[in-house]
């Protein structure tokens, strides 16, 4: 009978990595096509529409860039966390906390301050909000060994309810006809856009700079080295004198803070007021996980990866309108591509040998 032996692949070259990526994406698209076919949707048309909707027109491209902004920020932070094997599933709520903190600053101090002052302050507040929210699960893990997957997940839901509580209650706007929204941010707090688009370039700049800094940090700094050792072998990290406590806190402060920046960016750049959590965060916190994964946890690649997934999101909007497909359709893309990326990763890291063994009594 056929016996399959699995062993570690010893030499992994960059071209292997690339090929594995290409195959994963291709196989993924194939699977997605099958799903569409099964559901009575013409796969060729749907996929073509998704890509043309996001990359095929000026409008589409601009929207893609807009959606890439928060993804770059969040995924950048996640590469740091994931490298240290800290599974931060809470980026969604770290984003929201950043939005909350930043909006508070914007609403309360904005009216009296010029843009040049209020905008950086809002960003700072956003970073702090996300960082604080991200520090909680970090402390829970270090001090109480509470699994971070669970704690960050719970924090997402706690924050959701908390934010809804705010906008329905004490923060409900006076100018919003009783709707559960906050008031608009003052004009000075609203980010300018690239004309003819929704691209809030200030955040885009912050995002790109952040990711580049993170890339340098991971590969060239002492801190990045310690993060990599922790992720590789926590026992060896302890033995080598690396301070787990401090390093984990810094990692989560940065990861949460980056998500927080994305959050305030969304509010100040696009929505201009706080509304229901889902409409502000739009699942970016979860999508960013795949973005980081696709980028192989390399902050430099995050920009490309974020762009790609932003394109899928925009394309998903496009087919929602043109084909009448539900919004959740995009999730099919995300989920399937992720599964095939994981499989591709497996074939990259492992060598399969096939053996025929004579069947014994």
């Amino acid at each position: 009978m056929l016996k399959i032996k699995v062993t570690d692949r010893i030499d992994i070259l960059p071209r292997h990595s690339f090929l594995s990526l290409v195959f994963s994406l291709a196989a993924g698209l194939l699977a997605i096509s099958l799903i569409f076919l099964f559901s009575g949707v013409n796969p060729l048309y749907a996929i073509a529409k998704i890509f043309s909707g996001s990359f095929g027109s000026m409008y589409g491209l601009k929207e893609t860039v807009t959606k890439a902004i928060p993804l770059i920020l969040i995924a950048g932070g996640l590469t740091l966390a994931f490298r240290a094997k800290f599974w931060n599933i809470g980026a969604e709520s770290q984003l929201l906390m950043g939005a909350i903190f930043g909006t508070w600053v914007g609403l309360n101090w904005g009216p009296h301050l010029p843009a040049a002052i209020i905008v950086p302050l809002m960003f700072l507040a956003g970073f702090i909000g996300g960082a604080l929210w991200g520090l909680i699960p970090a402390i829970l893990k270090i001090k109480f060994s509470i699994n971070e997957v669970i704690s960050t997940l719970m924090m997402n839901y706690i924050c959701n309810e908390f934010m809804t509580l705010l906008i329905v209650g004490p923060w409900r706007g006076k100018t919003k006809f009783g709707f559960p929204y906050t008031d608009d941010l003052p004009l000075s707090a609203i980010l300018s856009l690239i004309p003819g688009s929704r691209i809030h370039y200030a955040t885009l700049l912050v995002a790109v700079v952040t990711v580049i800094m993170l890339g340098i940090a991971v590969y060239k700094t002492r801190f990045g080295y310690e993060v990599r050792v922790i992720g590789e072998n926590p026992d060896a990290a302890k033995y080598s004198g690396i301070d787990f406590f401090k390093t984990t806190l810094i990692i989560m402060a940065i990861s949460g803070g980056a998500a927080g920046l994305a959050g305030i960016g969304e509010v100040a750049g696009i929505h201009h007021y706080l509304s229901y959590p889902e409409s502000i965060s739009s699942g970016y916190g979860y999508t960013a996980i795949i973005v980081a994964w696709l980028a192989k946890l390399n902050p430099f690649y995050v920009i490309l990866s974020a762009f790609f997934f932003a394109g899928i999101l925009v394309g998903g909007d496009a087919i929602q309108i043109s084909l009448g497909l539900p919004a959740a359709t995009v999730q099919i893309f995300n989920g399937t591509l992720l599964v095939f990326l994981i499989m591709g990763d497996f074939f990259l890291k492992n060598q399969l040998t096939f053996q025929w063994r004579p069947k014994r009594n």
């Binding site: 669970i150 539900p326 989920g335």
Partner: protein, 306 residues
Amino acid sequence: MEDIIISVAQRTLIAGTPLLLGTIGEVICERSGILNLGVEGVMAIGAVTAFIVTFVTGNPWFGLLAAIVASAAISFIHAFVSISLQASQVVSGLALTMLGLGISGLVGKPFIGKPLTQKMGTWPIPVLADIPIIGPIFFNHGPFFYMAILLAVAAWFTLEYTRLGIKIRSAGENPRATEAQGINIYRIRYWCVIVGGAFSGLAGAHLSTSYSKSWIEGMTAGRGWIVIALTIFALWNPLRAIIGAFLFGGIFVLQYLLQPLGIPPNFLAMLPYISTLLILFIGALWDSRKLNAPAMLAEPYRRGDR
């Protein structure tokens, strides 16, 4: 007054039923050592499958069966990726959630706004249902409720007092030792993931054919995530899950009832998640061994690992 109590209690039990079903499955899965974060997606698949098949065939029991099959099938993906490929169970579970939500949304679209003519009925238990107060609360439900309770007890019994249960628990605690006894870890874990998925599918079927009569996108409304919290809250024990499920279910129901009293519903909605964290917190302070968490939960295991 009496009627309000009965009504609230009934609705609590109904709200807790899908939570309990999902939790039983997740407990079985996690005790074998595999973390499945895809419950939300699998539940959605179960819900949409049950709905469509019931709609088309007119028989909710076919819907239930179909839901079990579909959810088991999609859980297979997670099993394959987590067990055979030993990939990160966290990432794989999230992928499963996205897939499940996406596919169910897509497939269910044509059925939005079309209510079922035949939904899963209520089965009052003769004699017991007539007892004042207790009767209507406990013995006047649809089959899903009774199934949930019975299955919870059966799961608990199986895990604690049968050879199979010992094998499952050992696979989660020490896969190497278990394999050294000649037990096929892979097979046990595969089955536990698939069976766990089937339970989530059952939960979904309840939502779309018993709890309500129609399909909407986002039907699961985060219940899958509550199941994951509930699994921990119940300390991986199906009996405790019964209590926990109805506790959490009660919060769903009380949320809006207590609003006139000035308690914001959102605050109540936070409670399940906060209490889960509290349980973990207290457990850490006491003795993590008492927590009962399977020692090798979410650790990939390769056969022949030294």
